[in-house]
């Protein structure tokens, strides 16, 4: 089942929870969404208007993708939600509280990994906890668990330069998961890897999302990737960005990955988004 909401109803709660999470989530968690974006605009110092009056709701426990052309302001929006960039206008509410800076309920996976080259995989993955003053043995135990969860067991004592781009991104993911935030933001986490690895990562991500039961905000500019991993896709238009369209996706995620990629709904949605974008480009 695929639902397309017009952009105007962006603030409306989704009618139903995505099936994959159905069992574990209390029905009351959804109404306003865990992250509320209200009238956010951002104009950079040089006069570049990146975002223009964006309003959005991110439902709890779901993976929402921001999909849009390069330079449309996806990273900017994510960093505003993360509290790393101040908006020119508008406000962000996370769990009902106004965002004024980074907070413990949010964590970030950076587009450029942002790993410390002088620290091992283990220390990098545990770094969020280290900054929070968690005792060494405790934080390393947690980090080890997440290093294993992202498939890097055995690499704990390697340094980032000894890893491939994809493996480095997994360290960044382990670090973001280890602090146990409610909202995990990922900025194009798979853009640095080849197509094969990317598909495997997408499958791993689905498994992690199901295990962790957190809210994921995911930035990508791949339509296929967005449709494959998301419960909901927010299509952003060219700069200055506005919400063009919101698409709810409900694919049977528990089966064989190839079956999902051949599922008529999957193919229809990819085609549908592509047609919409093409229409927009022409």
């Amino acid at each position: 089942m695929i639902t397309t909401l017009p952009a105007g109803s962006a603030g409306m709660p989704p009618s139903a929870h995505p099936g994959r999470f159905g069992d574990g989530i209390p029905a009351a968690a959804a109404p306003d969404g865990i992250v509320e974006v209200r009238g956010i605009s951002k104009t950079y110092g040089g006069g570049v208007e990146a975002l223009n009056n964006i309003s959005l709701t991110f439902p709890e426990g779901a993976l929402t993708s921001l999909l849009g052309p390069s330079g449309c302001g996806k990273t900017t929006l994510l960093k505003i939600i993360a509290g790393l960039v101040a908006p020119t206008a508008g406000e962000i509410l996370v769990k009902g509280r106004r965002v004024t800076g980074p907070g413990p309920e949010r964590s970030f996976v950076f587009q450029d990994f942002a790993l410390m080259p002088w620290a091992t995989v283990l220390r990098n993955a545990a770094f969020g906890l280290e900054l929070r003053g968690v005792a060494r043995s405790e934080r390393e135990a947690v980090a080890e668990r997440y290093i294993e969860a992202v498939g890097l067991k055995g690499f704990e004592h390697k340094y980032p330069h000894e890893l491939s781009g994809g493996m480095r991104q997994r360290v960044g993911l382990a670090r973001a998961l280890a602090v146990n935030a409610d909202v995990v933001m990922m900025d194009e986490p798979f853009s640095a890897v080849d197509e094969q690895t990317r598909r495997r990562f997408q499958e791993d991500l689905l498994r992690l999302v199901a295990q962790e039961r957190k809210t994921f905000l995911f930035v990508t500019h791949s339509i296929e990737e967005a449709v494959y991993v998301s419960n909901r896709i927010v299509l952003l238009s060219r700069r200055p960005s506005r919400v063009q369209r919101i698409i709810e996706i409900d694919l049977p995620r528990d089966g064989d990955p190839d079956r999902i990629r051949r599922h008529p709904d999957y193919l229809d949605t990819v085609e549908d988004i592509w047609q919409g974008l093409r229409h927009y480009v022409e």
Binding site: P102, G103, A114, P117, G128
Partner: protein
């Protein structure tokens, strides 16, 4: 000959044996071997140039080495180092601690930067030997003057490198630290300083080299003591091998000290650089 070669190619065990036999070739291109070879070539060139001779005041390596052993065995070289190294050690310790401190502060705070950068850029560009007479007038010919000369030589490059290192700490890592709720102090200690370490140490190595120059300069320009005394004395009696032996000795100590700095950095501060090196 050819037959054996073909034979060994066609039978696997022989190929393995061949590979094992050729391993010394790998040792030949090992960095340490290459260093030793380039060192030997330089010494050989020195020997040839000295015997040619390029100039009567330029002794060959062999004579210099003999003079070095003589200076070492009669204890005069060690005594001289004791004298020279005192202002040098004090000067380098002060320049290192104060220089890194000022440079890091300039990198962290723009107000300190505006105050400090012009001073140290001027100091770095100035011909510092010209300041020596002024220092002698101000502080006399004692230890303080010599320490000041070492500091003046060593400090600017240490300060400017530390400043640049801190200023160029990767923004994305700092942003990462902020997003994981690091305090300003944590971000400085756990991100900015480790990121700056390689460039700070490059500055320390350059500063140490400049400090050695300063220490010898002080002894040549202020009062001849220590190594400077051996150099000027042997120059005046035309015992050039001994003069060169003293110069070579101070160069060796300088290089040794700079190598130790590099080792300390790799061993204790940036362990990941060790595996690639």
């Amino acid at each position: 000959m050819i037959g054996t070669g073909m034979n060994s190619l066609s039978t696997p065990p022989a190929t393995v044996a061949r590979a094992a036999r050729f391993r010394p070739l790998a040792a030949l291109v090992h960095p340490l071997t290459l260093r030793a070879v380039s060192f030997a070539i330089a010494l050989l060139a020195w020997e040839i140039a000295g015997r040619w001779p390029v100039s009567p005041s330029f002794p060959p390596f062999s004579e210099t080495a003999t003079a070095f052993v003589a200076l070492l065995s009669d204890g005069s070289l060690l005594r001289a180092f004791g004298v020279t190294l005192t202002p040098l050690a004090i000067g380098l310790a002060v320049s290192g601690a104060v220089g890194v401190g000022i440079g890091v502060a300039m990198g962290l705070d723009e107000r300190v930067e505006w105050f400090g950068v012009p001073i140290f850029i001027v100091l770095q560009a100035a011909p510092l030997a010209a300041l020596v007479p002024i220092l002698v007038m101000a502080y006399g010919i004692g230890l303080l003057t010599k320490v000041s000369i070492v500091c003046i030589m060593a400090m600017p490059v240490i300060v400017l490198n530390s400043f640049k290192a801190v200023r160029h700490a990767p923004r994305s890592l700092i942003e990462m630290g902020t997003s994981f709720l690091g305090t300003r102090a944590q971000i400085i200690r756990k991100i900015i300083l480790p990121a700056a370490t390689p460039v700070i140490f490059a500055g320390l190595r350059l500063g140490a080299a400049a400090g050695f120059v300063g220490a010898v300069l002080a002894e040549l320009l202020v009062t001849p003591t220590g190594i400077g005394d051996i150099i000027t004395y042997n120059q005046s009696i035309a015992d050039y091998p001994k003069m060169y032996a003293a110069i070579a000795a101070i160069i060796m100590v300088s290089v040794g000290f700079i190598e130790i700095l590099g080792f300390v950095e790799q061993r204790f501060l940036r362990p990941e650089t060790r595996r690639t090196a």
